[in-house]
């Protein structure tokens, strides 16, 4: 028994199943982050005084650049598959993973410095929301990395059997990755700049 439209698109909807699935998933993710962002806004507008410039803007700017770069390598990894260039795909997917890991590394140093300075989540609502938002985001990065590592490792075998389906999968994880990067573009100014 074969489920239709796993690879080819359904003519009247113009979609294959996983693509619709990933878009729906991202819609729910938008709501998740919207909930967190609204909490941020409500807490901030309701606070007597809101601490500012508590976070290292330089490191975060670097991290923003890294994530944007990783989005670009992600696109290249997918484009390479479309051009049937397997070696190139591996390089770019590997680069994306690497950039994701660097992002996490920098994030962890940031956490370590705060913790060393006694700036724990329980210090005040600013640090509470800072840790929560960035940790939820970092967990999304970790999730994405796990999936990419799978596609670099055991998941890559699909390419030999069903190249189109494999390309679709890379497209889906790519959409997810762009979304996670996009969320960072909101988190960065909200916490570090404003």
């Amino acid at each position: 028994m074969q489920i239709p439209y796993t690879v080819e698109t359904r003519p009247d909807t113009g979609l294959y199943n996983a693509k619709l699935g990933i878009w729906l998933f991202l819609a729910s993710e938008v709501m998740l982050f919207a909930g967190l962002f609204s909490s941020y806004i409500l807490l901030r507008t309701g606070s007597v005084a809101w601490p500012r410039h508590m976070l290292p803007v330089g490191l975060a700017t670097l991290n923003t650049a890294i994530l944007i770069a990783s989005s670009m390598t992600m696109v290249m990894a997918w484009a390479a598959l479309r051009m049937n260039n397997w070696a190139r795909h591996r390089v770019f997917l590997g680069l994306t993973v690497l950039l994701g890991l660097v992002f996490l590394g920098i994030k962890l140093t940031e956490y370590r410095e705060h913790i060393a300075a006694g700036e724990l989540p329980s210090r005040d609502t600013f640090f509470a929301i800072y840790y929560t938002l960035t940790a939820v985001h970092a967990l999304h990065i970790v999730g994405g990395l796990i999936v990419m590592l799978y596609f670099l490792g055991p998941g890559s075998r699909l390419w030999a059997q069903r190249p189109e389906q494999f390309t679709n999968r890379i497209e889906s994880i790519g959409l997810y990755w762009h979304f996670v990067d996009f969320m960072w573009i909101f988190i960065f100014p909200l916490l570090y700049l404003l």
Binding site: N17, M31, L32, L36, L120, P121, A128
Partner: protein, 597 residues
């Protein structure tokens, strides 16, 4: 058997579909029908569990401070001293009754059970779009359910701050609340996976010829409910994460400055609320907003599948097309959308101000319109029909006035001036139970009786069905009607002694006894259903493919449908409810038959 003997000599590359073992076939099956049955049975068990919790509570309300018969002595002394429920345990029962009924009972049965089993069949597909996701969604739900039940056994007992888990109470509550939050995160994950799967299946896997306006109403209802689960649950997940942080990381998202607990000021120091420490600066209302942003749509998640099921059964037993099918479909869409912008009608007494209240009053009045459209359409379908009073039809017919009462009593709650008096009284309890208990749960029973022949190939017993129906119908009303009287008289909900401590309740206490007796009787009247359910699987009258002479696609498949569902991929030639077409040979014209038969 063959399989066992042959294991040693199996070829290495055997097709896994050919001979799935017991585990793959019945426990970890990828087949939407098996998963649907698993969901439904688990959901029914949880309904029974939640109902039992309530029957125990009702004893304390009817006869406060007396030992609970039968179960009182089985409870640990930490929960019931000498068989008398302790206040903390009463609170646990209340919180868990709500949680279990909604998140572990009704939603899994209505969406996970009926949705999984019926959607692929009704749209002519061989399975869901993502079978593995489907399997995962079920087991994550089971995990969430087990975590929830296990909370009864952690020190301090389970969650006790109501199914709404309002802070600050929930943040300073015992460890059970942490596990409640973890359970919720699992349940949210499960419905997320499920809803994505449902939507993709409906959009992508419709059989040739099954255009949008030919979809059975139930499929539309499931689609609407899936969107609500997809979009409304994540904010609660966000809220759950924040509350978890408050409880374990010592943040104060929901704890205001200057909070005093047990005569102690929560000081501005690093530590968790459990140690009486909090930095403050948070806002308890933030939780209420995030919670109700989910929980109002959630009530439509509970009611939409019920409306869908009733629609199918009413058309079939009235032998008429659904009156105003198109408007019903538009109403589902409008209802789903509007249900996202009414949430603060649960919060009128928080002092939100008249501007905000005006907005939410307006949206609440507007949202009642599509519900009325759907109810009216169902009633109009009956107009002039020669109705078959089958057991499923009885339940479906009862749904209409019951849902009507529930909906109408919601209107005064939607208006701030009257809600300020009624909020947190038994009136609210009466209102929403009319919608979910004799409303949704009756619809779910109707669905069980109606599709049982499809699932098992056998019919359920009619006599037992009638006993179950009439007993339940009478008991439900004796339970919930007096709650309006109590609530209008000012009796509050969530009181350990049933309100005896307040003088103004003196005249209302007698109803607690009436309600209690009716509740236990209702329990007895579920016995015929349970007996009927299990005996009919074995000994019920055999049913063919289409025992109700229905039109939608699931009746074109064998009963029970095999792996892959249909003999051949069905093609669809007509709308879902072509009953009594003038000039047709029979009074029903199935969707999959080409000529008007």
């Amino acid at each position: 058997m063959d399989n066992v003997a042959a294991i040693g000599q199996r070829p290495a590359h055997e097709e896994p579909h050919e001979q799935p073992g017991f585990l793959r076939r019945y426990i970890f099956s990828l087949d939407h029908k098996v998963i649907g049955i698993q969901y439904a049975v688990t959901g029914l068990l949880f309904l029974l569990f939640g109902f039992t919790l309530m029957m125990i509570m009702r004893y304390q309300l009817a006869y406060p401070m007396t030992p609970v018969p039968l179960v009182g002595n089985l409870l640990s002394p930490a929960n019931a001293a000498g068989g008398v429920l302790l206040p903390e345990f009463y609170n646990q029962l209340g919180a868990m009754h709500g949680t279990v009924m909604i998140f572990l009972g009704v939603v899994p049965l209505a969406i996970g059970g009926f949705g999984n089993y019926l959607i692929p069949l009704q749209i002519g597909a061989s399975d869901m779009a993502f079978p593995k996701l489907n399997l995962m969604s079920y087991w994550v739900y089971v995990a969430g359910g087990l975590v929830m039940v296990a909370t009864f056994f952690v020190p301090g007992g389970s969650a006790q701050s109501g199914w709404t888990s309002y802070p600050p109470l929930s943040v300073i509550a015992s460890a059970g609340q942490t596990w409640w939050l973890i359970g919720m995160v699992l349940l949210i994950t499960s419905s997320l996976l499920g809803s994505i799967n449902f939507i993709v299946t409906i959009v992508q896997l419709r059989a040739p010829g099954l255009t949008w306006m030919r979809l059975p109403f139930l499929v539309w209802a499931q689609l609407g409910a899936s969107f609500l689960l997809l979009l409304a649950f994540p904010p609660l997940e966000a809220a759950g994460v924040l509350q978890l942080m408050d409880r374990v990381a010592g943040t104060s998202f929901f704890l205001p400055s200057g909070l005093v607990v047990s005569n102690r000021l929560m000081t501005t120091m690093t530590g968790t609320a459990a140690d009486g420490l909090a930095s403050g600066g948070g806002n308890p209302l933030l939780w209420q907003h995030l919670f109700w942003f989910l929980a109002h749509p959630e009530v439509y998640v509970l009611i939409l599948p019920a409306m869908g099921i009733v629609g199918e059964i009413v058309a079939n037993n009235a032998r008429r097309p659904l009156w105003g099918y198109r408007h019903m479909v538009y109403s589902v869409g409008f209802l789903s959308f509007m249900s996202m912008v009414v949430w603060a009608h649960h919060m009128y007494i928080t002092g939100m101000g008249t501007t905000l209240a005006a907005f939410f009053q307006t949206t609440t009045m507007i949202i009642s319109i599509p519900s009325i459209v759907i109810l009216t359409s169902l009633l109009m379908t009956l107009w002039g029909a020669s109705i078959r009073f089958t057991v499923p039809m009885l339940f479906a017919l009862a749904f209409m006035p019951m849902f009507g009462i529930g909906g109408l009593t919601g209107l005064p709650l939607g208006l701030a001036p009257s809600d300020i008096h009624l909020h947190d009284t038994y009136y609210v309890i009466g209102h929403f139970h009319y919608v979910v208990a004799p409303g949704t749960i009756f619809a779910l029973f109707a669905g069980v009786y109606y599709w049982f022949p499809k699932v098992t190939g056998r019919r359920m017993n009619d006599v037992l069905g009638h006993v179950h129906f009439w007993g339940s119908f009478i008991c439900m009303n004796v339970i919930f009607m007096p709650m309006f009287i109590q609530g209008l008289g000012g009796m509050n909900r969530r009181l350990y002694d049933g309100g005896a401590m307040y003088l103004h309740n003196a005249e209302l206490l007698k109803w607690n006894v009436v309600i209690g007796i009716a509740a236990w009787t209702l329990g007895l009247f579920q016995v015929p259903f349970i007996v009927n359910f299990f005996t009919s699987i074995r000994w019920g009258r055999p049913a063919d493919r289409n025992p109700w002479e229905a039109t939608t696609l699931e009746w074109a498949a064998p009963s029970p449908p095999g792996h892959g569902n249909f003999d051949t991929t069905p093609a669809v030639y007509r709308g879902p409810y072509e009953y009594s077409v003038p000039g047709a040979r029979r009074d029903f014209s199935p969707q999959s038959e080409q000529e008007p038969a």
